[in-house]
Every structure is written in C-alpha cells, then in structure tokens.
Amino acid sequence: MSSEPRAFAAVDRGTATVAASLIGRVAGHWRLLGATAAPISVDPDALLERLRGRLVEADPPLAKQLGLADPEGVADLPRVGCETTAPPEIAVVGATARVAAPLAEAATGAGWRVHRVVLDGASILSSAAALANPRVSAILAGAGDPPGADERPLLADLTALVGATTERRPDVVAVLSGGLADPGGRYEAAIASDRPGATLLAPSPTVGGGGPLRELLDSLRGGEADGRRGLAVATGTLAGVLGRRVEVVEVGQAAGVRVVATPGGPGRDATVASAVVAEAALLPRGFGEPHLDSVVGWLTIPLDRLRVRDRLRELAVSPWGDAAGEGALLRLAAVRGAVRRLLEATPWMDAGPAPDVLVAAGGAWSVAPGPAIALALADVVRRPGVRALGLDHARLLAPLGTIEDPDERRRVITDLRDELLVPLGTVVMPAGLRGGRSVGRIEVRGAAGSTELDLVPGGLELVDLPPGERAVVELRFRDPVTLGPKARHFAVEATGGLGGLLVDLRDVPLRLPERLERRRDLLTAWQAALWSGLDR
C-alpha cells in the first residue's frame, strides 16, 4: 500500500466466497466505509464498485473527498489483498503407527491435508500407491532418533520407498525427519540430489512439542499473500493494540484456522501461535459418518440423516447458497462441528491461559445473526473464564495482516479497532459447579442499572448488555469454582454486544442428552433465547 492514500480496498478471496471492504481516511483516522461479500465467481471489482456506489448515495461529500465520486476511483484504489486456497496434500510415512502419528499431527497443524502411510502390516504395493498419489505435493518421512527396535527392520524398506517415490515424482518435496534427518547420511543419499523437488532435513516432532517441525511444514505450503498467514499476523497486531489475549477461530470451506495471540508488553511483539487444519473445514473432504454425526448432533430441526446428507452435499456444491431459514441452522450446526474438530486437532494451543477475546472469522459464520454466533461459540469453546466475543464481520483481519510494514499495520488496526469486530457480547463460563437449585448469585452493574440473578447450574442466563456498554459483573458462589483462578467471589468487567452477557452455567465440557429428541429440545430452547425471528 502506498503511503498516506485517502482510501484503500481490502479483498479477501476465499475458496468459496470473496469479501471486499472500502476503508477511507476520515478526520485523520482510518474508518471502515463499507463491506460486502459474494460467491467466489463474482469479480471483487464489481463488489468494490457497489460499495463505492453506496458511499456516493449515502455521503456524496465524503465520497468526493476520498476520490471515490467517480467509478474510476475504484480502479485507482490502493489495495491490500489475500487469498486462501485448498490445503495442499502431503503423504506422511513412518515404519510404525507410533512414529507416523506425531508426524501426521505436526503436518495436520501446519495446514496440510495428510495421507498417513504406515509400513508395518501394510503391503508394499498399497504403500507405494499411496505415496504416488498425484495430488500429493510433499512427503514427510520420519523415524525415531535413534530408531526404535520396532522400526529398525523396516527402515530399509522405508528408505527404498521414499527414494522410489522421488524417482517417480522428481518434483515432489521430500522432508526427512528425526532419525532420517542425518545430513549427508544414507537416508538423504537415497534421494537423488539433481531432481527439481527439494529434499529437506527436519527436526523430530518430539523437539519443542512439534513446533519447529510445524513451522517448517507451514513454510512449505507456499502461497503469496496467504490469507491464513495474514490472519495470524493481524491477530498478533490486534492483541498488541488491545493489550489482551486474542483467539481467532476461522471456519472456511477448505480448512479451519486457529490463532492464539498474547500481547508482548511495551515495545515487544505479540506471541502468536497458529494452526491451519484441513479436517476443520466446514465440510472436509472425505466427509463421512463421524462428520455427519457432528452436524446432526447440533441440529435443531427434525431432519433425517439422509436428508441432512443431501443438504450438506448441496452446501458443498454451493457453499454460498441456501443461507436463510433451515439452511442457516444447518450451516451453524456444521460450523459447530468444524470448530470442535479444530480444537481437538490443536490441543497444544490450550496450554496458555484462556483468551480475553474470542473472535469468529470466516465466511461460514457470516450469515447467522450475532447472538446466534455468540451461542455457537459458547457451545463449542468450553474453557472456563470470562471472555469477550467478536465477529470479523467484514473479513478484514486477513487482508490487513498482509500489510508488510508492522508500524503501518498497527496504525491501521488501531484506527479500525472499533469496526473490525462486531461485538457479540461477553460470556462468563465457570467450571466445577456443584448440582443444586442455586449455586450463588450474580449482580451486573451497568449504566442502565443493576440486575441480580440466581445462579442455577446447567442453565444459560442472559443479561441485556447492548454493544458499547460496559458493566461490572460480581459473582458469588457457595463453593469454589474455576473461572480462570479458583475462588468463590469474582468481580469482572464485561463489555456489551449483540448477544449481551451470557452467563453460561452449563457443564464444562458440555454434556448433552444422548437421545436425539431430548438433545434437540434442549438445543432449541437455548437457541430460541438468542436467535429471534427463527419462525419467520
């Protein structure tokens, strides 16, 4: 982006939809002028022109001041943009399942779609066929360091197979990890050095909790202006700007992304951890019965499994279609399943304290009303604590993350901090509640007065707290509970949002009835409180 433009455009091209935003300089600050999204077949220029037209209709002097009074204004706009593509595919091969599992976990967290190949007990033919898969662009082969007794007899075959695969596919990237990553050793020597594909020696997945291997594999995914990397960078900047721990869960058509950023203090960058998980896509490839279960389990409409499967196939074909009515409910059920898979695939990101701000991002969330999104987040992100909930409604975070100059990026995000996220509310989620009619009292003191409620375990209490308002929440429990620290008495500040204050006294983790009808009734009751106009 050039220095000091009067306006710029941000474009996020996803795998299913494209989002475009106009940002202009108003009274010395960057402000979001408009945002919209459309199916991926729509040219972003057409969307930007539409936004420009709306600005001209709404505020002609501002449009003129920003140089957007004429259609040519859009063509000349500086842009920040990013693109997300379907995750590339990698074959992860090990002599035994014990060795292959951590390798596969590292590759999964690094944004690859993983084909796991275990030599022990498999035929050489099926292993060779899996490695020769033309959709695979990289091979990750590993062994223990030093190799274990169970894998040593198979290492020669492993080396021969990997070497043979690089002969069939000279362009494939070969990554040797752990015991195979001996510089100049016999494993590396088994792969021709004069082929077009790279051969890399990588750390073992046991080193640094798998972080160094994940980072290396992430760097191999390629893709300039990658939206998922942009999302991680922007989340780090946002955490620094807000001075709070921020977690983003993005659900897209091709993958899910989780980013956790902790502010680094004055003059220091935020610490950012991120993972791209193909299995956490809205409808992952190889969609099977467990995936269907994960959707049906959250559905509040009585559809049989065949019908749900057909509706989901339609959703896969037209991810932007059927977004109203039952389609919205189905989509949000699928989103809940995807977030669950995302969290299950990234347990190492739960190590730190719970986030202060939890942000939903990605096209999959965008059609539901704000309070319904707040409920969905509370349903699936079950960590005790108090956190503000937000929605990256304009899908601005990822493109802003591609601004290379950190100071410029920080300035833009600082200006846009109140417009980047739609405030969904605050969720208070204690854990370790004992059963009974009441476990304590809550008092919410805000600008509009004070509200006092009994704390009844198993329920979901809603307190009206509109966007822009703040309140002090005082909770007194009869017995100690976990809300970050473990105590009986807590006083926390809550920010308002479309969903208000959600006091979530349900189990952590959430336990739902096994019987589908009872489960549906319970989900419907919770949903009815937060999703108005469902019957229209």
């Binding site: 065949l306 196939r313 074909v317 932007w320 999703w531």
Partner: protein, 340 residues
C-alpha cells in the same frame, strides 16, 4: 435499489456456460501401463492405458548395466531363463529396489489386463507412471457438480423432459450405446438397469445421496467381477435435491441429440465437438435459482436490491427476480446463477 445500469449484473454469481481446454485425469495404479506418451494426440476410441486386474509384486534381478539406470516407474521385462516359454514371461513396472542395492527390484505385474480406450479426444499433457494420465480435451465442455462411475462416450439422447424422472422400466436395449439425459432425477435401480442395457452414461439434474451410494456399491461389485465391464458414468449437473435441468442446458442437449459426446468423471463434465454447433443464446439477465427453497426456478434479474431480511431473520444481499410464469420476488444473490 440499483437500476439496470451497465455492470450491475456483475454482482450476480455466474459460471461459464461452456468451457474449452478442459483437463481430465485417468488414474494409473502402480503396474498399470500407459499406452500414450506426453504430447501425443489421441482420438476417442484410441487405446489409452492397460489396467492390471490381478496385481501382484514379484522380485526380479537386473543385469548390472540396467541396474545403474533403473528407475521406479520404469517398465521392465525379466529375462527368460531355461525352457520357460516367452508368453509366460510377463512384463511389469519397477516399484522399488529391494533393500541393500539396486540390482534386485520389486516389480508390479499381473496376468490379466484390461485395455481402456480414450473416451474423449485430446492432447496428452502428462503421463505419471503409477499415478495418472492427464489429457487436455478437444472441444467444448459443460461442467457438472459431481459424477460417479467411469468416463464414457456415446451418442446423446433425451429420455425425458427437463422436469422428468426416468424409471427402470423405461430403459431397454434400444438405448444401448447412448448417453441419456434423464431430467430432474433418477434412482439407483434405474441406473443399474441402464448399465445392464448397455447405456454408456446418464446425465441428470440431481441425484440424492442414497441413490448415489447404492449405485457406487453396485459399481464396486461390478468391478470385482472377473470380466471387464464397459464404461458407464453418471453426471449430476446440479446437486442432491430435486430440480429441473436449466433451460439453456436443455437447449444445448437438444442441439447435441444424436451426436457423440464424452461423459467425464474427473472433473465432472460433458465434452462435445462444438465446431459446427451453434450454442443456444443465453440472455445476460437470465438466472436460475441454484439453491434454497426456490431451487430450479428461472427468470430475469430486474435489479440488485441490497440487504434484505430472509427466513430465520437472516440478512442477505438480494436481487429482484421476475420468475417465469410467476411474480417478481426478492431472492438471495447467493442462490442465483447466471451463465456467461
């Protein structure tokens, strides 16, 4: 509301009506043999590849001069020794060296081979032994949503109108060799009957998941049989829930009736020679409703209206559409599709 100004239609989702230069893939398992080389031009019906039906792995020794240059994926014919007759010596593909050197290799081979003929004309882009053959097709292609079975070629015939449904009883041997356009939907029983009657392919607007799974199970049983079966594919144009075939597509099928066309599975498409074919015109403001409660309806976009509230209190960008034979309604932009 945006009036019918130049360019406003650009925000209505679209897809190409037909495309050219589609690239299709034919999978090769280790041991399968490509009968074409990269850069070759193939005509429909030319031998494309040989598939092994009884795949096995043998070990074979290589003479020193061959061992130095041997590569995985290379074809290899073991030397005959003693009184073994040449017809009993089967060639195969080098899979991987036996550990400890490059003079002994594992080789994939088999006795029984099925020859696959090219279902579509085009240029061979790439041949990757043990992986795939990629072919850039000649002619135009109409893309579908998904497909099942195998790629096939036949003459196009219309079996029903765009709203119709073909039952098993309506298919006889008179349809042998054809690719049938069967309207809005078909069930697995009719698909298996069509295959048994020698039909080469089915083109349908929608196929429910249950029928798809039943058909795929039937396909797996067919492939497990000893005798090779003729290729048979199903091309689904729209999705899983019932709707009509869009009228411009139906007009194209009417123009193609009686001509040879190719039904491809990866990617799902119908390929045809458009050299002397006049494609049916599609008005710029024509749309069909691709998804949602009105799926299958067609009409003209009158205007793009901005955000509107739809069922379940969902706010979506909308367009005003004059539905054929009905009134003017606001529909979510995401549910609409134009052909360009």
């Amino acid at each position: 509301m945006t009036g019918p100004a130049a360019g406003w239609l650009a925000v209505v989702p679209s897809r190409p009506f037909v495309e050219h230069g589609l690239e299709t893939r034919f999978p090769l398992a280790p041991g399968d043999r490509s009968l074409v080389d990269a850069g070759a031009n193939v005509a429909a019906g030319d031998p494309l590849l040989e598939r092994l039906r009884d795949r096995r792995v043998d070990e074979t020794g290589l003479p020193p001069d061959a061992a130095t240059s041997a590569r995985a994926g290379q074809r290899w014919t073991p030397e005959t020794r003693g009184r073994r007759r040449p017809e009993h010596v089967v060639e195969g593909e080098l899979l991987a060296p036996v550990s400890g050197g490059r003079d002994r290799w594992r080789m994939v081979t088999g006795e029984h081979r099925d020859r696959l003929l090219a279902p579509v004309p085009g240029d061979v882009v790439d041949v990757r032994p043990g992986a795939e053959i990629r072919l850039r097709t000649a002619g135009a292609s109409l893309t579908g949503s998904f497909a099942a079975g195998s790629s096939a070629r036949g003459r196009l015939e219309l079996a029903t109108d765009p709203f119709g449904e073909l039952r098993a009883g309506g298919i006889d041997v008179g349809r042998s060799g054809s690719i049938l356009v069967v309207g809005s939907r078909i069930d697995a029983e009719a698909l298996t009957r069509a295959r048994a009657m020698g039909v080469r392919g089915i083109v349908v607007a929608s196929l429910p998941g249950k029928e798809l799974r039943d058909f795929q199970a039937s396909e797996r049983r067919q492939r497990a049989a000893l005798h090779p079966t003729p290729p048979f594919g199903v091309l689904v144009l729209e999705g899983a829930t019932r709707r009509r075939i869009p009228s411009p597509v139906m007009a194209l099928f009417e123009a193609l009736t009686g001509r040879e066309v190719s039904l491809l599975v990866d990617p799902p498409a119908l390929v045809f020679d458009d050299a002397d074919l006049e494609l049916p015109p599609v008005a710029a403001d024509w749309v069909h409703v691709r998804s949602g409660p009105s799926a299958g309806a067609e009409g003209r976009v009158v205007a793009v209206t901005g955000l509107r509230r739809f069922a379940a209190n969902v706010m979506l960008e909308a367009a005003r559409v004059a539905i054929d034979g009905e009134g003017v309604v606001d529909l979510p932009l995401g549910d609409l599709e134009r052909f360009v």
